[in-house]
Symmetry: C2
Subunit: 470 residues, 2 copies
């Protein structure tokens, strides 16, 4: 046979040429980002209406495809990297991270087994140990002992994996109907989703009451668990929030660990966003008690300049996780796995396949250095504190919750309608984007500071808008 | 406040400069790929031994980081894009796909809700409709009706979502102990993993016997389901393989659909690898019966030149999926969602966050055109058929299974030991990499043809090695 009928593919030199064009496009996007409105005003269906109903039969020029990014895509984006982004939480996309992902895509390797690319697994284990050191995590989460870290796509998946490991430790292969899970009503929606996915009934999730600061009350947790145990039920998992999504409330991990230990329940600490603040010695108090957690996660793809997806998930004991998730078909058997000397990360996650994601975390840590990462988090936190002080001093605004980190929740003194109107007016400027939540039933604006591009002047501009519109 | 204490970030112009350097590195990797051994001979621990035990405190130059790719990473990779790659299945990484991912990383947007970036959702829905057209899928999988498509990270996740939707349709919030799942013993390990993750007991998975071609036997499926129904159990899900991982065996979807329908069970068709062959009119017979499936998946990140992760998952009715996975906290509420006029893909998958993955599929389809994609699949399939013919004619080799597509399973006539020795000798050359499986207990070599870079001459070289070493 010959290749007469083969499809034409790009040569490496084509890749070089078009690659440079793509980099130019990306650099121009970044250069013009600030001039764009943060949010798009397209109506549902607008994007699809710009596209042909059927796929093209013949190849199109790469230049035409790139041009369509400007015609169809960017007008219909919510620009998460915009300096006026104060919505949800930020999602990282620093240069080193983006280029590491380019390398990862080019290599196109799979890290499901150590043997399918040793560098993918070992760099991941190593960089997760680095992160544990940077965050001051307890030794039990290092790979040198029974524990270790792994990259998940998202904190949702880390929560699900924690639940599955906890479920296995409490009840093996089942039945699971007597198991109970505990989390505050401020916990992320992924806890409820994980409970459903894992086949538990929604009523198997118990809600811990929160205090005035929206943090879980350990006394109520103790009460719930004791009552369940007395009923012959099995407390299997406690989820503590190291920074809730609504208001970055910090659950008291240490006393929750005491209660969990009393009942032999797995303690998972969800630090998806706020976990990055453990980088700072002055904020390390938020993690007090982590030395008794069974698992912990935080997302470099939020505050730590790394593009999605990159959730770091550590377990103190990897055996229940691996035991619960390991299925080894013949076609994946190999000498390295059978030697027991290697980690096969497919057993630490839900899917089988996995990208080379450690590369971007490695690039980010080396390009910023520990000191650069600390400066980034410290500066953004200071910007948030500065904003909070201005809000506190405003006669028609009130802070809605403690703001120990980089999120400020506030409301209008005239009530929900005024707060909703303020949010709508702010977002309608196109210069900033904020989202909302409810705390104690009250409609509350969330100002999450900020993206990599957010500087002091952008927070000043946000404040000027708030002041003018409140 | 000012930015005196802020961390130094790259300017767009820095991004441009370093981006061009990264593209050069990537192009050189592709240029030199063929000269490298396909697999690495590093020992466990080698990669970590090259790295400092602690992260750097100060920033490092990007050039130093890039240089370490050559020092630490590439020597410890299994090169999945190598033209001598005949292992597992290929994983796509065409130029257009890699550059689309670069754009996606730069944009750093989230598609969890329509409103968090309309283009992410609409392009995904649109491109999945395009794929449905390209593959000749039934109309019920198009977004124009009750169904539609979504991109999952991997087929494992598609299987899990299918199970969760099926579970919901059969039993709502539970209990689930009477549900039963059916798949052949040739089904991918992800079926068993999904059963475990979803909280079903391993015994709730029934194994359908296979015929001489390793395809599920509908008569045995009927027997199993009837017996379970008679016992008061609830047949919830049937998984049919459109190409098994071991040997690309094609389960007969049409008669399996008849049986599933009789018991009201959800029929999921797993076409992870082989589904791409539906592009070819001459192979469309493999999907006969898909018009009665409840869900279907195939991975452009395998045969279709798109880099991981990109699994296309279609459902005929999106309601059970969304009902099973929807949790809507206040902080995600928005007008577009409440209008009901948009899709929020977070409800179609396990995690909340999601990257802009439709971009790479869009770039690939447009850059190759439907005709280019068909030529690619047709040519690789022809190369495999050519290899199979040579194996069949060899006095000391036998084909182990039918080979309708791009995978050839074969063994040595002298038995397992000779087959294992042949595989070891082939892989020891460093010029090719094949993996193995077991069929009917027999050790079998798998030659999966091939990657984007694999040309006729590489298959000739593989054959020369097989011929010399058998």
């Amino acid at each position: 046979m010959d290749d007469t009928d083969a499809a034409p593919h790009w040569t490496p030199d084509d890749f070089r040429r078009y690659g440079h064009a793509a980099v130019e496009w990306a650099a121009r996007y970044l250069e013009t980002l600030e001039d764009r409105p943060v949010t798009s005003d397209v109506e549902p269906g607008w994007v699809r209406a710009q596209l042909p109903a059927s796929p093209p039969d013949a190849p199109e020029d790469f230049a035409a495809v790139l041009a369509d990014l400007d015609r169809v895509v960017t007008p219909a984006l919510t620009h998460w990297q915009h300096p006026g982004w104060f919505a949800y939480f930020p999602t990282g996309a620093s240069g080193p991270s983006v280029l590491a992902d380019l390398i990862s895509s080019t290599l196109g390797v799979q890290g499901m087994l150590w043997s399918t690319s040793p560098a993918v697994t070992e760099l991941e284990t190593h960089v997760l140990d680095w992160m544990a050191e940077l965050l001051g995590l307890p030794d039990r989460f290092r790979s040198t002992g029974a524990g270790g870290g792994v990259i998940q796509d998202a904190a949702s998946s880390a929560t699900l994996c924690a639940l599955i490991a906890a479920r296995w430790r409490a009840a093996g292969d089942g039945p699971f109907d007597r198991l109970r899970v505990y989390a505050s009503d401020q916990a992320h929606s992924s806890v409820e989703k994980a409970v459903r996915v894992a086949g538990l009934h929604p009523t198997q999730l118990r809600r811990i009451d929160v205090d005035d600061a929206y943090a879980a009350r350990p006394d109520h947790l103790a009460e719930l668990m004791a009552a369940d145990a007395a009923d012959g039920l099995v407390p299997a998992l406690v989820v503590a929030n190291l920074g809730t999504t609504s208001s970055t409330a910090i659950d008291p991990v240490a006393p929750m660990a005491d209660v969990a230990a009393e009942h032999g329940a797995w303690l998972h600490v969800d630090g998806a966003h706020a976990g990055a603040h453990l980088l700072l010695p002055e904020l390390r108090w938020i993690g007090e008690g982590l030395d008794r957690a069974d698992s912990f996660c935080m997302n470099p793809h939020k505050r730590l300049l790394t593009n999605f997806d990159c959730d770091c998930f550590w377990v103190a004991d990897r055996r229940p996780l691996v035991a619960a998730l390991s299925v080894l078909p013949e076609y994946l058997r190999n000498a390295a796995t059978e030697s027991g000397a290697v980690i096969d990360y497919r057993d630490w996650q839900i899917p089988l396949g996995r990208r080379f994601r450690a590369l971007k975390l490695w690039f980010v840590i080396r390009s910023y250095g520990a000191e650069g990462l600390r400066r980034h988090v410290r500066h953004q936190t200071a910007l948030a504190q500065d904003l909070a002080a201005r809000i506190a001093a405003h006669p028609r605004l009130e802070l809605s919750a403690p703001h120990p980190l980089d999120l400020v929740c506030f409301h209008h003194v005239d009530g929900d309608e005024a707060s909703e109107a303020l949010l709508a007016r702010l977002n309608a400027t196109g210069r900033v984007f904020l989202t909302h939540t409810r705390l104690d039933g009250r409609f509350v604006l969330r100002a999450s500071v900020g993206t990599q591009a957010t500087e002091a002047r952008h927070v000043d501009a946000l404040w000027a808008l708030i002041d003018a519109l409140a």
